[in-house]
């Protein structure tokens, strides 16, 4: 079986699907919030990492803290944990390109942090519905 797709629907659970390379039969792996959290706590990803790590990725995504705990160094665009999770749902063969589009969009507008709202804004302005 080969890893096919990963989904984190936002309710604390995790789903992954695997495909048989011979007969194309698909099976699913479903994890409850506890199991999902255990894997996430290790800072690893089922299916492998397809995007470069952002600095302090685990801390920024997991700690309940100050809104201004992190700022962007001049010229650097960072990804919020929610935006990074959403990017992970983009099909892997175009994910790198999509990431660059959003990063360029933010950099051109001096946006320090890419959030889901920024992604929505970019999709509308750039006509990227579906990304």
């Amino acid at each position: 079986m080969e890893f096919a797709e990963r989904q984190e629907p936002g309710d604390g659970t995790f789903a992954a699907s695997f495909t048989c390379p011979a007969c194309r039969r698909r099976i699913a792996l479903l994890a409850n919030p506890m199991e999902t959290q255990m894997v996430r706590s290790l800072g690893v990803q089922i299916g492998g990492k397809t995007l470069d790590d952002e600095p302090m990725e685990l801390v920024r995504g997991a700690v309940v803290g100050r809104a201004d705990a992190f700022t962007s160094a001049p010229g650097h665009v960072r990804w919020s944990a929610e935006a990074a999770a959403r990017l992970e749902r983009v099909p892997s063969f175009v994910r790198g390109m999509v990431k660059k589009i959003y990063a360029d969009y933010a950099a051109e507008r001096a946006i320090a942090e890419i959030t889901p709202a920024v992604m929505d804004q970019a999709r509308t302005e750039l006509g990227l519905e579906g990304m």
Binding site: P21, Q37, P55, V59, A62, V63, H76
Partner: protein, 274 residues
């Protein structure tokens, strides 16, 4: 019904979790290869002034070491050392990592102090139940990122202020195999000595080089005339040093004056660095 195991299934393991964990460890090693000495400051017991000693030692070392001094506040749930070093602000994230906050004396600091609202405990996002199961893994991950994802630059000395307890230093050496050594802090009492003994045994058992023992609150210094009078009974520092065959690096009397690490203690600690 027949079951196939993981090893019976054909195809590449794209998750390769072991490789992901290995990559995390390599990032720590890569980041710390520009740091000359990494020293853990530990104590089996809380309330012995470990963070005060860490901060005072960092300040004094920064005046002596031209290559820079950093502090990781590994007491994640009860951060103290950043405030003692007057390090405040946010962590600026750049392509090279998060930038440590510069405190007094140019000491570079990373701490949960910078992440949390005033008076808020360290809390994690969902799920809120059964958190004891995964909290340890998250805290280990946080400490790993404090080491690997912070642009420490070149440093002569990185001090790691560990939380009270015997296990912290053992977990740390898993992350930092090149740890220079550990410094133990105790107060004079027998109770403290017993507690710190456990931490020293844990460290020695993990193959960590013991740099020595510092006895804190070793009497009380009068702020007016400088005379040192009794404060706590016992001589745990001396006893631990003899038992483990390491030097007693100094006795620090309690003083109500400003944060400072006595010169003789600073010199003794730095002399123990290879």
């Amino acid at each position: 019904m027949s079951f196939r195991t993981y090893f019976d299934v054909e195809g590449r393991d794209r998750s390769d979790l072991a490789a992901q964990v290995g990559a995390q460890r390599r990032r720590v090693a890569d980041r710390l290869k520009h740091v000359r000495h990494v020293v853990a400051v530990m104590s089996g017991k809380g309330g012995v002034g470990k963070s005060y000693l860490t901060a005072g030692l960092a300040l004094a070392a920064a005046q002596r070491l031209a290559g820079g001094v950093g502090v990781v506040d590994a007491d994640l749930r009860s951060p103290t050392v950043a405030r003692l070093l007057d390090a405040q602000g946010s962590l600026a994230v750049g392509p090279d990592g998060a930038h440590p906050v510069t405190g007094a004396g140019g000491v570079r600091v990373v701490s949960t102090e910078f992440l949390l609202d005033e008076a808020s405990p360290l809390r994690w996002k969902e799920p809120g139940h059964e958190r004891f199961v995964w909290r340890g893994a998250l805290e280990a991950g946080m400490l790993r990122e404090f080491l690997s994802d912070v642009s420490w630059g070149t440093l002569d000395l990185l001090l790691i202020d560990l939380p009270p307890g015997a296990d912290g230093v053992v977990d740390l050496v898993d992350l930092v195999p090149g740890l220079t050594g550990a410094l133990a802090v105790t107060i004079p009492t027998e109770e403290s000595g017993r507690s710190v003994r456990r931490a020293l045994h844990a460290a020695a058992g993990a193959g960590i080089r013991l740099l020595g023992v510092v006895e804190n609150f070793s009497g009380r210094r009068c702020d007016s005339c400088g005379a040192v009078g009794p404060l706590f009974p016992g001589d745990a520092g001396d006893g631990l040093a003899r038992e483990f065959g390491v030097p007693l690096l100094g006795r620090i009397p309690f003083s109500g004056s400003v944060l400072a690490c006595p010169d003789d203690v600073v010199e003794a600690v730095l002399a123990r660095l290879p």
